[in-house]
């Protein structure tokens, strides 16, 4: 078995084209970008960068999240579920879904915020699009805050804090 591997190596080694373009080395420390996924390992890098941190098949997976090493610097939080974490990781998709008034990024935001009326949430995000996403340069924090404002200021959406 191992000899088979060896036999294949010399040639395959030559064929590995640049698998490496996306390597982003983390510093292994907690950053200041917020809680959870968005803050670990990348220091002050925006959370979205993590989409490309581990290039396919984990070529650079050293920046990913250990299971036992703790995943959140905000204590035992629901890492995947914070609205801000979600915005950081899904901003491009969420903006598109909001503009369309439809899509599973809206569904996820509604689940995180315990909203009961999904169609109303979708309509509200579309209606408030320019408030939530005022410009492509708005920060994730600004987007998150405006999004929460829309979700939690209209009781008809049935969203609950916490």
């Amino acid at each position: 078995m191992k000899t088979l591997k060896l036999a294949a190596i010399a040639a395959l080694a030559l064929t590995a084209t640049a698998a490496s373009a996306d390597g982003i080395k983390g510093n292994g420390r907690y950053g200041t970008a917020g809680c959870g996924l968005g803050s670990l390992v990348f220091g002050d890098q925006p959370g979205a960068v993590q989409i490309f941190a581990a290039t396919t098949n984990g070529t650079f997976a050293s920046q990913t999240f250990g299971i036992t090493s703790g995943t959140s610097n905000c204590g035992p939080g629901l890492v995947a579920q914070g609205t801000k974490n979600f915005v950081e990781g899904n901003r491009v998709a969420l903006a598109k879904d909001a503009a369309r008034g439809q899509g599973d990024a809206i569904g996820a935001v509604a689940v995180i915020n315990h909203c009961e009326n999904l169609p109303a949430v979708a309509a509200a995000l579309q209606r408030d699009f320019k408030v939530i996403f005022p410009s492509e340069q708005a920060t994730d924090v600004q987007v998150t805050n405006a999004l929460l404002q829309t979700l939690h200021s209209d009781p008809a959406l049935g969203c609950k804090a916490g």
Binding site: K5, L6, A8, A11, L12, L14, T15, A16, T17, A19, S20, Y30, T32, A33, G34, C35, L37, I51, F52, A54, T55, T56, N57, G58, T59, F60, A61, S62, T64, G66, I67, T68, T71, N73, P76, V79, A80, N85, F86, G89, N90, V92, A93, K96, A98, A99, R100, G101, Q102, A110, V111, P119, Q126, K130, S135, E136, V141, Q149, S153, A161
Partner: protein, 660 residues
């Protein structure tokens, strides 16, 4: 009340965070109220474990990742702290079991770091021992493991899913696809559960190099540490489906609640150790299966997944070994499929508008109805994201981000929701339908120079343009170590006709919305069949690009382009008489397909050979395949008939292919 809640929510902007999860601090206090284990019970339990030969129990074998070998058991885990019995633990499951049992009773000093407490470090082993030896609370009181509990609460699965991310030729490390495990927070897919918020568990090599050459060598030699990590599933959806335009196939598994509990406990154990990562067999796909087997020892998955090379698609097929394990299949279309679905029904005027919007986001929208205009903007947005997702996420192209923002604003202003995009899953392409990745071939033929021929072929992986089409993308040819030997009995001569380390071809259908090149690449050795090459076996490398038009009339695919080849061997008449020969020239191919039963491929190539003798060469080939047997486990059978012409030899061959 609402205002208060809102202000609390808004207040969670970045605040200085504690460097360690606060859970760590509590543990000592919690421990103070836990009674110590009854140590006097230990000798009796050890005796019983020995009498039962519990170390050989499949549950223990699998949770310790032991595999049988020529010298007895050996664990595939490579982290030293995975073994309580030290070095002996890697090879002796019974010794490891006894050491673990003893540690649970004796290694109970109050320490703040729960990973130093065997009860917290090995929750799946603890479950197994409690269950098999009947160790109750009164003998071994449950110890507080706040971090593990935190992990368990966070993932809290009611189901598990194996996710297959389709073949991606643009990155060599994922050309064969990728699998990961998803821990599902709900059974239904509806308003109460968003799959995006599930957790994905990934096993991957922790690469410490950005040198692709070193990456390949270390990957093949087990030089990387493989580690289990976890993510919000949405990261994986963004990476695979959006950034790389790969379809995701999700196989929901029928696991019982206790098996899911063990799975989570075992992932915790794995998360704290590492394995040597072997690109070919002990890879991402393989360890998804071993983790599942550890959680549910009743499952035999690894045995069905191939012996020498374990590919992600093999592991998906292995899920169909145990009856009823796959509960349901779901398909998540890539951004490419979504875009294709959106433009499929647009009028010519609407298509023109989609194109115009790429350059000018203020371009006029056709149609009087809001829905028509929305459809145009929706397609235009998907088109931007399809080709620029990475630049958008990283903010690398401000002008483009600005354009997209305008399109989004125009779309939102229409004020009507898009209808959910319904895309029929291309079920024939689901990876579990594919032929086996390993292929053997045997046959015979005749050569104009050597007379009768015996042909033997082998291929480690994966798929060429003529192989049975089910389970694979129709546009890709990716082969890893295909070899063809020819024996000419009249001349008592054995030759390597072709042997490639890698051979790849990617066809991209040229259209107004997709202007990607088609390309090919190969590297290995081939015997030259022309006058300058003189039947010599040469080192061979080649690449080329061109344009393709696919699915013409539903049956034909065409590609035409230009290639550059290099051949080298002592004695061939190459550049200025050296052993190196350069070839440059056009190539073309035509493929015809008759459903999933037969296919025909014609290829032609002409090369100018600068400063060589003679100055040109060419090749023609025609190959037909009949797919005789398509078996559910991928053990297919096909017949190949091929004819070839080159300046130095004409030949005809018939080969039977068996897939494993």
């Amino acid at each position: 009340m609402l205002a208060l809640a809102l202000s609390l929510l808004l207040a969670q902007t970045p605040a200085p965070a504690p460097a360690q999860p606060p859970a760590e601090v509590d543990r000592l206090a919690l421990l103070a109220s836990v009674a110590p284990p009854r140590r006097e019970a230990l000798p009796r339990l050890l005796e019983r474990a020995r009498a039962m030969r519990l170390g050989e129990d499949p549950g223990w074998i699998k949770v310790g990742h032991y595999v049988p070998g020529p010298f007895g058991w050996k664990s595939e885990a490579d982290g030293e702290d995975f073994f309580r019995a030290g070095k002996a633990g890697k090879r002796h499951p019974q010794a490891e079991l006894e050491a673990t049992l003893a540690a649970l009773f004796e290694d109970t000093a109050p320490v703040a770091d729960e990973m130093k407490d065997p009860a917290c470090r090995f929750p799946a082993r603890l479950r197994f021992l409690r269950d098999r030896l009947g160790i109750g609370e009164e003998v071994l009181p449950t110890r507080p493991c706040p971090r593990f509990e935190d992990f368990r609460r966070r993932v809290s699965p009611v189901g598990a899913t194996v996710v297959f991310s389709s073949y991606y030729l643009n990155n060599p490390s994922s050309a064969f696809g990728h699998t990961l495990l998803r821990l599902d927070r709900g059974e239904r897919r509806d308003s109460e559960r968003a799959e995006l918020l599930d957790y994905g568990v990934n096993y991957a090599a922790a690469s410490d190099t950005s040198n692709p050459l070193l990456y390949a060598v270390k990957g093949l030699l087990g030089g990387f540490k493989g580690e289990f990590t976890h993510y919000a599933y949405y990261y994986k959806v963004r990476e695979y489906a959006d950034a790389e335009a790969r379809d995701l196939w999700e196989y929901d598994l029928a696991l019982t609640p206790p098996e899911l509990t063990t799975l989570v406990a075992h992932l915790w154990e794995l998360g704290a150790t590492n394995f040597d990562y072997w690109y070919l067999d002990e890879n991402c796909a393989y360890h998804v299966l071993t983790a599942l087997e550890a959680a549910a020892p009743r499952l035999e998955l690894v045995k069905g997944a191939g012996r020498y090379v374990v590919l992600p698609s093999d592991t998906i097929k292995a899920l169909y070994g145990p009856p009823g394990l796959v509960r349901e299949i779901h398909y998540r279309p890539s951004i490419l499929r979504q875009f294709q679905a959106r433009v499929a029904h647009l009028s010519p005027a609407a298509l023109d508008a989609v194109e115009a919007l790429q350059a000018d986001p203020e371009a006029p929208l056709p149609g009087a109805l809001g829905a028509e205009r929305a459809a145009v903007l929706d397609a235009a947005l998907d088109h931007i994201d399809l080709w620029n997702f990475k630049a958008l996420v990283l903010g690398k192209d401000p002008a483009l981000s600005r354009k997209r923002q305008r399109l989004l604003e125009r779309r939102a202003e229409l004020g009507i929701p898009s209808a959910p995009l319904v895309i029929e899953p291309p079920l024939a392409q689901a990876p579990h339908h594919g032929h086996g990745s390993f292929r053997l071939g045997a046959g015979g033929g005749a050569s104009s120079t050597l007379g009768p021929l015996v042909i033997l072929e082998s291929r480690l992986a994966l798929h060429d343009l003529l192989d049975p089409p089910d389970g694979y993308p129709p546009v890709a040819h990716i082969e890893f170590v295909p070899l063809r030997l020819r024996y000419a009995p009249r001349h008592q001569r054995v030759e390597l006709d072709e042997g490639w380390a890698v051979k790849a071809l990617a066809l991209n259908d040229l259209s107004r919305f997709d202007q990607r090149f088609s390309w090919r690449f190969q590297l290995g050795a081939e015997t030259l069949r022309d006058r300058g090459g003189n039947g010599a076996l040469t080192f061979a490398a080649g690449f080329g690009g061109g344009f393709a038009s696919l699915g013409i009339g539903g049956v034909a695919d065409l590609m035409a382009g230009a290639d550059v080849d290099v051949n080298a061997a002592p004695g061939i008449a190459g550049l200025r008489g050296s052993g190196w020969r350069l070839g440059v020239g056009p190539s073309a191919l035509v493929r015809l397909r008759a459903g999933d039963r037969a296919a025909l491929l014609a290829e032609a190539g002409w090369r100018w050979l600068p400063e060589a003798s003679p100055r040109e060469t060419w090749k023609l080939s025609l190959e037909g395949r009949l797919h005789l047997v398509h078996a559910p486990n991928g053990h297919d059978l096909s017949l190949a008939l091929r004819a070839r012409r080159a300046p130095g030899e004409d030949s005809a061959q018939a080969v039977v292919y068996a897939y494993f």
